[in-house]
Symmetry: C2
């Protein structure tokens, strides 16, 4: 669980990164920033900060902030009610993000699985995204990502976000309880 103090401190740090990225957000958006910590109580290492710009039945756009070394845990977006799973494009706006997907595992991956959670990171094909670079993920594909040492700001363009349906590799994560990506 997030204490109010950790929540506020984390948001404040995330706003600094949005600033560095030159991304303008309204006061209302600042006050509605979400901190995902996935119920793991280790937001420094496993977590991310996000502002949802729009999420209709058809499409969705968010700004994601990852503090230095912060990790979004491995998950996939399965089909729901006969519709293909969520399709996501990640576009790095600032910093560097290492994205991992199924495929040939990288020999020297730049990211490290968070300590104590190693077994819940199973795909290791690395895609490095620097500012201006992007990657589109097919629905229902396992993925996780981690910021480099300068942190990262990532725009996510996708179909509808239905967080409750996401499937995490880590059984300690309950999708119904936690905002996901």
């Amino acid at each position: 669980m997030l204490t109010k103090e950790i929540y506020s401190k984390t948001c404040e740090r995330a706003l600094e990164y949005l600033n560095k990225a030159g991304i303008v957000v309204t006061e209302k958006e600042k006050s509605e920033m979400e901190v995902a910590e996935y119920g793991l109580n280790d937001v420094e290492n496993i977590g991310l900060e996000l502002i949802v710009y729009v999420n209709t039945d058809r499409c969705c756009a968010k700004e994601l902030v990852l503090l230095p070394g912060q990790t979004c845990p491995e998950h996939r977006h399965p089909p729901v009610e006969g519709e293909a799973g969520k399709e996501e494009t990640f576009r790095c706006r600032y910093g560097k993000v290492y994205l991992y997907v199924p495929g040939e595992p990288s020999k020297n991956p730049k990211a490290k699985a968070p300590k104590g959670s190693e077994e819940y990171f199973t795909v290791w094909h690395e895609i490095e995204l620097n500012a201006g670079e992007q990657y589109t993920l097919s629905p229902d594909t396992l993925h996780w990502f981690q910021a480099g040492p300068e942190g990262a700001v990532v725009s996510e363009f996708s179909t509808k976000s239905r967080d409750d349906y996401d499937i995490y590799t880590d059984p300690r994560i309950n999708p119904a309880q936690n905002r996901k990506v």
Copy 2:
């Protein structure tokens, strides 16, 4: 028609605005920037510059640049093959954009219809978007927009773009010939 010279000069100016907005794009994206002039030969006044980040069957994201006073002409996105029309969210990243939609006409609209094309601008309910502000448009709704004197950079988040199906108020515009928004 765009001459190569006007195309290059317009792109160069548009890149300056992306720079001012702090938006990083790759060399490949720069080289693939599109200039929409709608076949009207008046790109200074009726036109816009765009980079398409992603456009799949399900969703689409673009960066739009409007030079100072530049106008995207009035149009709507009708249903196609039984699917609702394109749904668009415009998020202003830099500068100021005046967006016009159906509704109570503004008494003192900030934008002016481009000279000689007045009759093709029929909706006058004004929505002013400054950096960090956004508006989501329902499918099949008439809309047009114009940048303020400092120009504007606008992120567009939407369902699939099917330019050929767009309907313009100005009968001189042929959707099949021109990239649209």
